[in-house]
């Protein structure tokens, strides 16, 4: 499910099945030299998140991406979102990001960190298989949480 009105309607009717929220976290770099890499990893993350949504449409809702700039305190940012999201009806909440700063933060939500892969120059087939591989690695993280 995506965070739009029609999917949300379906979610509200099927709350017992759609119980997982995936929140993309995106670091927006402001220094010129790092902007390319930042855009590339955003591209990768959003493509991956779209693919996750396609595969798990009936169980996972993808939240709009949360973005932050370098000076923002990730720790505090994470805690605030985390506190708010625990009030939501979702049973399982995952943060997904390519920013390694999140790996050292201790929050209630599961943080799925993956290194960014520059997919922008790949042809569709290769891109597809890369995304598949990434999802295959993430899948156990989802299922182990679901069977709890």
């Amino acid at each position: 499910m995506n965070w739009n009105a029609s999917d949300m309607n379906l979610f509200l009717q099927q709350k017992e099945y759609i119980d997982t929220l995936v929140v993309p976290l995106i670091k927006v770099e402001t220094v010129e030299e790092r902007m390319k890499a930042s855009a590339s990893s955003t591209d990768f993350l959003m493509n991956l998140v779209d693919y996750i949504e396609l595969q798990f449409k009936g169980r996972i809702m993808v939240a709009p991406p949360f973005a932050y700039t370098p000076s923002m305190d990730v720790h505090q940012f994470g805690e605030v979102i985390s506190t708010d999201l625990t009030k939501s009806p979702f049973k399982h909440i995952f943060f997904i990001t390519t920013d390694s700063a999140w790996t050292s933060i201790d929050i209630q939500e599961k943080v799925l960190w993956l290194p960014s892969i520059p997919i922008e120059n790949m042809d569709d087939r290769l891109k597809q298989s890369i995304l598949e591989d990434q999802l295959k690695q993430l899948l156990p993280r989802f299922t182990e949480e679901w069977i709890k």
Binding site: Q14, Y17, Q55, K57, G58
Partner: protein
């Protein structure tokens, strides 16, 4: 009766003629619009070529990815990636849509080790038999959709999805 057209008759004819013309001017487009769907030429389905050779298809479903180029959704143009599970039933090639009938997740053939000869939906454990028939007692309420299949030059071409005809 005189053969001369009286003034009254002449006016009647003229009025009828003009009136008839006006009515038909209004009615013709309406009729044309009404029968338009009938006249529309059936464009031979939008079949999309895949890389799958028809001869290589076996009785075990294989995943076939294909891309619909330049799909137009109003002004938004995009390439849509799609997947099908393709297998052979006798001489017929069957292509099933991987979209779970429960809430739209993507199902996989032999996705669950305990049910190796079924499609499995990882979201809520929905299962389907090889022909797409949903296994009772699992969440899905209907069978998997089917693609229209055509073989052109030995390659499998897939068309639109339609309700399952095998179950």
């Amino acid at each position: 009766m005189s053969s001369k057209v009286s003034r009254r008759q002449f006016l009647n004819y003229t009025l009828m003629g003009v009136g008839g013309f006006m009515v038909s001017a209004a009615a013709m487009p309406m009729i044309r619009f009404a029968i338009d769907p009938v006249l529309a030429s059936a464009d031979g389905g939008d079949f999309v070529p895949t890389d799958q050779k028809a001869d290589d298809v076996t009785e075990t479903p294989v995943r076939v990815d294909f891309t619909i180029k330049d799909r137009k959704d109003a002004w938004y143009k995009s390439d849509v990636s799609n997947t099908a599970w393709v297998y052979k039933d006798g001489d017929k090639i069957i292509a099933l849509s991987p979209v779970c009938k429960h809430l739209g997740c993507t199902v996989n053939w032999a996705g669950d080790d305990t049910h190796p000869n079924e499609y499995f939906c990882p979201c809520h454990g929905g299962r389907y038999e090889k022909n797409g028939k949903n296994v009772p007692g699992t969440p899905p309420t209907g069978p998997l959709d089917q693609y229209e299949v055509e073989v052109v030059d030995g390659l499998v071409h897939l068309g639109k999805t339609m309700p399952n005809t095998l179950v």
